[in-house]
């Protein structure tokens, strides 16, 4: 129902303006005291569940982890489990299992202060029926720059028991290859040997998709999501060159948590026009019981969880998206001075270049030179991938 973004965009359009967004860094004094930030979740899927605690200080400093707190999760009328600190500021459950319909509460004791969340009930998340995609073009705030990619849609149907408020966490994983797999090492004098280098030609990239992704079916007669736009993946990177997978975690959250995310989305989501609500401080469901005047940031959420993973093969996407990006190759061509030619090659190899192949200008003749690759073009780990095949992956 908000008008802002379309309005602002049309306003740009109207007056043919672009580049109207400029950096602006006002002086914001650091707050005198740091605030405790708690991020905890319990779901109806098996644990362990994680609670992280840190201290928020300012806008540009990383929060410092809070170590040595006593953290517990309590089931209403049931057990209380103390969490173990597995890493600095990260606390983990061992055995507790969340159940739909039950209420849970988080308690923290730290530096003589007691913190406690309100009781949160787990409501089941609806069944995800299908996730599918279509090619799409998306505009950006730069009106001259549209991007092409895949628009993913989600269909789900839920009962009236299921939560009508949804939050999604998305994780994308895709397989990548290399532009120039290396077969030989260059020895010198146009001689080569089978490579001894241990390079990776198949990798997987994995990424949590940033952004707050929420929706609700309140106001609809049925708890149904249909053609719901869940994610837009651009083809700008190498996503669709081999095989792509999208994991959707659908959390059935409470109305209170939904409103919290809505507000966070509004205030952290960029572009704020005049038809927007004022940014406002967000209230946590965790409070400092010892000193209620001191706000606590973060949230302890209890939610149902359903997941769905889909795969996208290169032949399912338009060619412009699956097109392999080929790295440029360096080349050294023979000149009359064979010594200089050789030195040139070895200099480049020492710099980290890799021998890829000979170049032949005359068919059947001697090599006229060599072409050289770089590590990033021949080893996908260098290109940000992981050679470890994910457990879930199947080709």
């Amino acid at each position: 129902m908000r008008l802002s973004k379309p309005y602002v965009m049309v306003m740009f359009a109207f007056f043919g303006l672009c580049g109207c967004i400029e950096s602006f860094n006002p002086k914001i004094p650091e707050s005198d005291n740091s605030l405790l930030v708690v991020d905890g979740t319990i779901t109806d899927q098996p644990g362990p569940y994680i609670v992280t605690i840190s201290k928020g200080i300012s806008l540009n400093e990383k929060n410092t982890p809070v170590s040595g707190a006593q953290v517990s999760i309590e089931e209403d009328g049931g057990i209380i489990e103390l969490l173990q600190e597995t890493r600095e500021g990260v606390y983990q459950t061992a055995s507790i299992q969340g159940l739909a319909g039950k209420r849970y509460r988080l308690s923290i004791y730290y530096q003589e202060q007691n913190y406690q969340s309100s009781w949160e009930t787990i409501r089941p998340s609806s069944e995800i029926d299908s996730v599918y995609f279509k090619k799409a073009i998306k505009g950006t705030t730069d009106i001259n720059n549209d991007v092409i990619g895949l628009q993913f849609y989600l269909d789900s149907h839920g009962t009236n028991e299921d939560s009508r408020y949804y939050r999604f966490e998305l994780e994308e994983t895709w397989k990548i290859g290399v532009s120039w797999p290396i077969s030989y090492d260059y020895i010198g004098n146009d001689l080569i040997a089978n490579t001894t280098k241990n390079l990776n030609y198949v990798c997987w990239k994995s990424r949590q998709i940033a952004g707050i992704n929420i929706t609700s079916t309140t106001g609809l007669k049925q708890n149904i999501l249909s053609n719901h736009k869940i994610h837009f993946a651009t083809g700008l990177e190498d996503r669709f060159t081999e095989k792509y997978s999208l994991l959707i975690k659908q959390f059935g959250i409470s109305e209170k948590e939904y409103l919290l995310w809505e507000k966070l989305n509004r205030t952290s989501g960029g572009l704020v026009g005049l038809f927007e609500k004022q940014p406002a401080s967000v209230k946590s469901n965790i409070s400092n019981i010892s000193d209620p005047s001191r706000p606590v940031l973060g949230y302890f959420s209890a939610s149902g969880l359903t997941t769905k993973r889909i795969y996208v093969d290169p032949d399912q996407v338009p060619a412009e998206l699956s097109k392999q990006y080929k790295c440029p190759l360096d080349s050294v061509l023979k000149s009359n001075d064979i010594g200089a030619y050789s030195r040139n090659i070895f200099n480049k190899l020492r710099e980290g270049k890799l021998f890829y192949d000979f170049v032949y200008l005359d068919i059947g003749g001697d090599p006229s030179g060599v072409v050289l690759s770089t590590l990033i073009c021949s080893d996908c780990v260098e290109n940000g991938g992981s050679a470890q095949k994910p457990e879930f992956w199947h080709d």
Binding site: V10, M11, I21, S31, Q208, L220, L271, V272
Partner: protein, 922 residues
């Protein structure tokens, strides 16, 4: 010979004398700055004396102390003080002879003969006959072209007479609104109303009347006022002659009673540069001190720290509920059909009510009642055409103005596929018909309709409409009593249809209608006092929101809020009294009554807990038109002016206003999708108390007008919102609103040059506007219940509006605007929640966006001024944001990896040039 002449002049005011012996009399009295007339009346009351004098003298101010004197002694004292001579006819009858000293040797017969002659004809109407007809020797100093008003046979009646009449444009027959008709020394005058009519009470006798109106040639008329009568005046447009204004002065800020008043005349407004070449009266209002907006192209305006829903914005006396077209770039008022606009920031008359910050009263023109005329304008964004002409010559006329955009082409050439499929347009229609039934009755009917459409990405369609109509009847009962009655209807509605996804397609609708009856009487019992009284009643009918499924496959659940009805009625009386030459006072009282009517549910809440759905303990249902809640609002209005000298006055005023209808908006600027809602049993009427004062001074004659105004304003029951408030389709509003108080104060400086080649104004204001929430519950507090700046708190603002006329064809306007950046809320802490970096905001409006500065330039070129030319064309070249400054529209923060980056968004980064062509066919 000379003596006879003098007596001839004095003669008409002498009445037969009653004889009664009266011997020695001792007179005492103390008169501080009193009118001669009042002193005489007092003397006549207390002593057996009978005075006869020329009513001219009535308004002479005298400061006299009579310590116990005989009649002769007293008379010589007055003569000494005032140069008024007296003639004692007998012991009780005294004749004031003015400047002339008269020997007492003429007998009664002399007077008798003259009066019985009846040489004068009765003059009821405007007559411009010369005195020559009566054989008066011109050498007597009587000016030619004296208009005689009133029944000459009644010329002996002492006291005053009332003149009524209209002021019209001689060429088009259009009434001139806001023209001043006045005499100087002492200054007595009137301003024409929306029909171009005025009523003026003056002492009988000879007066030099000055008639003045912006853009018109001033006129000086000599009148001889014998009794009540009519004086109709026709002025000629000053368009052709741009010479120095000959007669300077009018009823200016020194003389009028109001503080915080401004009249905007459309003739000046056309010369002011504007965006897209569209002259816009609302944007001009923003150049006045004390008037702010939250940002470039924001809808509405804020007056002296009030919300934008607290302005009563009227078009021809009908409220307009949403005043902007096209994202706030243009106002809904078509400048072609507007006569003028009055802005009252304080000193608001009792006949106005219903909003607490200001009244912005836009008047419509009447059509040319002499011949048909067509005019129009073309700019890159809009086109408009206005047709006007007589229905029956000099009696009835019509005017119709249509305006539309053809701006879609701008969107269609864009690369962005989403916007290429979008569409934004508006159109509006304004029409007025007026008919003069006879001299005592005038009828007018006007209507307005506007439509705005915005289609995003071909699946969401936003539309909103204003529809207004009013029927007005002006009736003159007598010279001293007239009335304006009106019946009106105003309607605003919006809709949003979304059909992007068949399962979630919906229609959202909102509608407000008001039906209003008003009767206002103006009564002029005697000189220097007048009364305004009457009543008004408005019935509001709202459909506050409905959401319905669109298409058969839609799963959207219908949500229809129950209708809201209310009745706002008011009785008002106001009186303007000029106690003496220096002191004038307006006192007004308005009793407003608001009945919130059914149907509807009201909820009662658990005591001592915040109002939430969970704390509802009881629900009461009210059937249609049952009274749910009644509020009474006694409202006192007061203005006083003390004029130290003819060029210096001070004023003070107090205004109390009640407001029963509110825009619910928790966005920074109000948007067309915000809805008006009525007060209910929980949401109390907003109340404003404003104290203001001002010092007014003119320099170099009246070429420069300077004023300093200050104000302090308290607003009660201001509406603030809880952070999560969703105001659309909200059935239980009170659970989302917070009661708050507002406090604003400021000083406004203004220097204005009205005439000459260079004209314009320069203003600076210092203004603060603060809000405080009242709840004891932390959830219902903003900034912990402390005062915080409102969204439109801009402490410093500076405006220059100037126009230089090179010659009669070319003029240049240059305007500059500066203001402190509006308050904004910035984040304090970044943290990660479920993998998402998010921001923690602290105090609302603690920071500010960068300061605003803009310069606009316009060059206006008129075609040649051959009188008989059929088509008269003019060009206007304007450049908006001449300095290409990228003013911040908003500031926002984005997470970029590890870093939070701040950005400012500007709408205009470049200078925006526009060419507009305007034509008129006669």
């Amino acid at each position: 010979m000379i003596r006879i002449v003098i007596l001839f002049l004095v003669m008409p005011f002498i009445m037969p004398i009653e004889l009664e012996a009266q011997k020695h009399m001792t007179i005492t009295g103390s008169y501080r700055d009193q009118y001669f007339g009042n002193i005489i009346a007092d003397l006549e009351d207390r002593y057996n004396l009978q005075f006869y004098y020329d009513p001219h003298l009535d308004s002479t101010v005298i400061d006299i102390e009579i310590p116990g004197l005989s009649v002769s002694e007293m008379l010589s004292l007055i003569t000494k003080k005032t140069k008024i001579n007296f003639l004692r006819k007998d012991s009780i009858s005294i004749i004031a002879t003015g400047r002339y000293k008269i020997e007492k040797y003429l007998d009664d017969e002399f007077f008798g003969i003259k009066t019985n002659k009846q040489v004068f004809t009765n003059k009821h109407d405007t007559v411009a006959d010369s005195h020559d007809d009566f054989g008066i020797n011109p050498s007597m100093g009587v000016e030619r072209d004296v208009v005689e008003i009133g029944d000459i046979t009644k010329r002996y009646e002492r006291d005053v007479a009332t003149i009524v009449g209209y002021v019209r444009d001689i060429l088009t027959g259009e009434p001139i609104i806001g023209a001043s008709i006045f005499k100087k020394n002492p200054l007595v005058g009137a301003i024409t109303d929306q029909f171009g009519y005025y009523t003026l009470v003056l002492p009988r006798g000879r007066h030099e009347m000055i008639i003045n109106s912006t853009g018109m040639k001033p006129l000086v008329k000599q009148i001889d006022l014998f009794g009540d009568g009519i004086l109709n005046i026709e002025l000629r447009s000053d368009l052709i002659s741009l010479k120095e204004v000959v007669v300077s002065g009018e009823i200016n800020s020194i003389d009028n009673l109001q503080t915080g008043f401004a009249n905007l005349n459309i003739k000046n407004i056309r010369e002011i540069p504007s965006i897209g070449g569209e002259a816009d009266i609302l944007k001009i209002a923003l150049t006045l001190p004390g008037v702010q907006s939250v940002g470039e192209a924001a809808s509405g305006f804020n007056v002296r720290g009030g919300g934008s829903d607290q302005n009563l914005i009227m078009l021809d006396d009908v409220p307009v509920y949403y005043t902007n077209h096209l994202f706030g770039f243009f106002s809904v008022f078509n400048s072609e059909v507007i006569a003028d606009a009055d802005l009252y920031k304080s000193g608001i008359g009792a006949h106005f009510g219903g909003r607490i910050s200001s009244v912005f009263d836009v008047g419509l023109r009447e059509g040319n009642n002499k011949k048909i005329s067509i005019s129009g304008g073309i700019s890159p964004i809009t086109g408009k055409i206005t047709i006007e002409g007589p229905i029956k010559k000099n009696t009835s006329s019509y005017i119709v103005g249509i305006r539309s955009t053809y701006s879609d082409w701008m969107l269609s050439v864009l690369d962005n596929p989403q916007l290429r499929k979008s569409s934004a347009k508006f159109s509006d229609f304004t029409g007025k018909v007026n008919h003069k039934i006879n001299d005592k009755n005038i009828l007018s009917f006007s209507g307005y309709h506007s439509r705005d459409l915005f289609k995003l990405n071909s699946d969401s369609l936003y539309q909103y409409f204003n529809s207004n109509a009013i029927l007005k009847w002006r009736h003159i009962y007598s010279n001293r009593l007239n009335s304006v009655s009106s019946l009106s209807v105003a309607n605003y509605n919006y809709s949003l249809s979304s059909d992007g996804n068949p399962l979630t397609s919906f229609d959202l609708k909102y509608k407000i209608s008001d039906y209003s009856l008003k009767v206002k009487f103006n009564y002029f019992p005697r000189e220097r006092i007048n009364f305004t009284f009457g009543l008004s009643s408005t019935f509001y009918s709202l459909q506050p929101g409905s959401k319905t499924p669109l298409g058969s496959s839609s799963l959207v659940e219908s949500a229809v809020l129950s209708d809201e009805n209310g009745l706002e009625s008011a009785l008002f009386v106001g009186s303007e009294a000029h106690l003496n030459e220096k002191l004038s006072i307006y006192t007004g009282f308005r009793l407003s009554i608001f009945n919130r009517l059914g149907p509807g549910n009201t909820f009662s809440y658990m005591p001592n807990s915040p109002m939430e759905i969970e704390t509802v303990v009881d629900t009461t249902y009210f059937s249609a038109n049952e009274i749910i809640k009644t509020y009474f609002g006694p409202e006192i209005r007061f203005s006083g002016r003390y004029k130290f000298r003819s060029d210096l006055s001070v004023k003070a005023s107090f205004d109390r206003m009640n407001q029963y209808i509110h825009v619910l908006s928790n966005t920074i600027a109000i948007s067309p999708m915000d809805s008006w809602r009525l007060s209910n049993q929980v949401i109390k009427p907003q109340i404003g108390n404003q104290y203001s004062f001002g010092i007014y001074k003119t320099f170099l004659g009246t070429s420069f007008e300077m004023s300093i105004e200050g104000y302090y304003k308290r607003i009660f029951n201001l509406i603030e919102y809880k952070d999560d408030a969703d105001l659309i389709l909200n059935e239980v509003l009170e659970t989302d609103v917070i009661n708050a108080d507002g406090r604003s104060y400021g000083l406004e400086f203004l220097i204005k040059k009205k005439s000459g080649k260079l004209s314009g104004w320069l203003s600076y204001s210092y203004a603060r506007s603060l809000i405080r929430t009242n709840s004891k519950f932390p959830d219902e507090q903003i900034n912990a219940g402390k005062y915080y700046p409102s969204n439109y708190d801009k402490p410093h603002s500076f405006t220059l509006v100037s126009n230089y006329k090179f010659n009669r064809r070319i003029n240049i306007s240059l305007n500059c605007y500066y203001s402190t950046g509006r308050p904004a809320t910035f984040p304090a802490i970044k943290y990660i929640l479920k993998g998402q970096p998010v921001l923690y905001f602290t105090d609302r409006n603690k920071y500010r966006i960068p300061d605003y500065f803009r310069t606009d330039l316009a060059i206006n070129i008129d075609g040649n001024h051959k009188v008989h030319k059929k088509i008269h064309g003019s060009w206007s070249l304007s450049v908006y944001n001449l300095t290409s400054r990228a003013n911040a529209y908003s500031v926002f923060f984005v997470n970029e990896g590890e870093e939070i980056k701040g950005y400012k968004l500007s709408i205009f980064k470049n200078a925006i040039p526009t060419i507009t062509y305007h034509f008129q066919i006669r």
